[in-house]
Symmetry: C2
Subunit: 281 residues, 2 copies
Amino acid sequence: MHDTDFRVPSAIREMRMGYFKGGFVVCCNTYYNRIITLHLIYHAINPYRRYSELKSDEKAAVLERSFIFSGLDDEDLSALSGLCIDKSFIPGEFIFWDEDPPEWFYIIAEGQVKVVKHSSSGKEFIIAFFGIGEVFGEVAVFENNPYPASAQAVGEVRVIGIRRQDFSTFLASRPQVALRIINVLGGRLRNAQDRLRDFAGERVEQRLAGVLLMLSNKLGSTLPFTRQEIADMVGTTTETVIRLMSIFRERGVIRSTRGKIIIQDRKKLKLLREGPPEILH
Amino acid sequence: MHDTDFRVPSAIREMRMGYFKGGFVVCCNTYYNRIITLHLIYHAINPYRRYSELKSDEKAAVLERSFIFSGLDDEDLSALSGLCIDKSFIPGEFIFWDEDPPEWFYIIAEGQVKVVKHSSSGKEFIIAFFGIGEVFGEVAVFENNPYPASAQAVGEVRVIGIRRQDFSTFLASRPQVALRIINVLGGRLRNAQDRLRDFAGERVEQRLAGVLLMLSNKLGSTLPFTRQEIADMVGTTTETVIRLMSIFRERGVIRSTRGKIIIQDRKKLKLLREGPPEILH
DNA sequence: CCCGCTTTATGATTTAAATCATGGTGGGTG
DNA sequence: CACCCACCATGATTTAAATCATAAAGCGGG
């Protein structure tokens, strides 16, 4: 692990006034005669980051692997890859921050990225995980509004970035790419709305089951997450996740080791997501 | 209300048994040897609905008023309006159901539409309200997946519909419309993610304040909703909303009459949304 | 190999909100 | 007009989950 290790929630919990802690600056803000705590978290810039390590054809290969650009012909691909730069990030480093101006649009070449938001009380909520070939930061870029959330590297990450303006002009003359983007956005919107419904109506047990299923659809049956991270995705506390996971384990739904969860029985998990077990009695 | 035949939502089709209760039909379905109760709602079809009441240029006028199509020239507008039909719906009637195949893409010409989802326990959750000039059902259409939620008329509603296939071909050659749609989807995605964060991290009081603010941004300071509807948007119970609204009223944040809420003090509402009052002590 | 730190684990207590219960109110309708 | 029904209101009770507390198990580094 590098010397810059970022753990947000613990640092924020007891904050009242601005201070530095573990690479972060945590501050408070007065607003309408009341004190509202805001957390602005700075991060150290990776001193070893280098640009333009990938050759143009390597970039094109990455672009081609992504859903959005996979339909382009060679000419368009090379034109686009000429616009790209690549950046690498160390584990835990933030690629952009909530409220940052939307300069870049990113495609993941290597590693995984989590997109998070912090509630007013400082709790972290993981909106999404993205893997190789997926894009992120796109909403802000297309709307030309500040990023609506922060993006953080999970493990070593290498991304390809395209400037907002360059991408807009590229897009204006490629309707098929625009249609792909509409597809991606539609899928994400649907996903977000499903989760919304779950949050509004369902119990934590069901939401947990839903998140585990969603993750295993994406990553297979072995999930490299701690209970803490799962809790941040489900929107609950670590203790509650640990308790429920213990129950799941007793019932043979999952197995787990430190920092890893193995899903053993997807059928049972689906049942848990669907209905309250009380119906059985 | 007119009593006529039912249109059966596709989710109901594979149900085994069911019974009526207070306007609902409660169905049971066997699934992995367990009984899961689903509450699905039948509705009457408006027997008086007529098609093609609007003339072509009236349709064009509606299209032009919407954000998505406002940039089109007259030629495109008239081409598009030729593809449209219009339908009217009575209060409470469903325009489409969750899981229905996505045949139509709609623009609201008159009235308001709410998009809802039902949780596995049958509770309704209102995902969004749309007014004149706004589109809905678009996610399903672009993805060619079943509608992810149901759309229900609030009051008398008239919509303009475009067939999925027609719209796709129209879109393929109009990148500027595609860009508009990307914008709209982006905004909705951002909105959904904000709400997700709120649901995960914040207390009901804050979520209620957030929903009231969101609605008043859209509709002005007089909101034509019952406590029940607000509860469905916040994802809580009617009683809780009534209690909190009473407190809000005592504090001078809102006034209300039957089925109507008047926002008196937006600043206080913003405070309520932001932070837990405990910080004061 | 020990020390410190993160993760996992589990019990006890508290609390926010759901649920249950009961009653008032206003507005439309036969 | 009286009746019903949807809406608003409030109290009492229950419950799911957060919070508080404590500790064991893994793992990594000096």
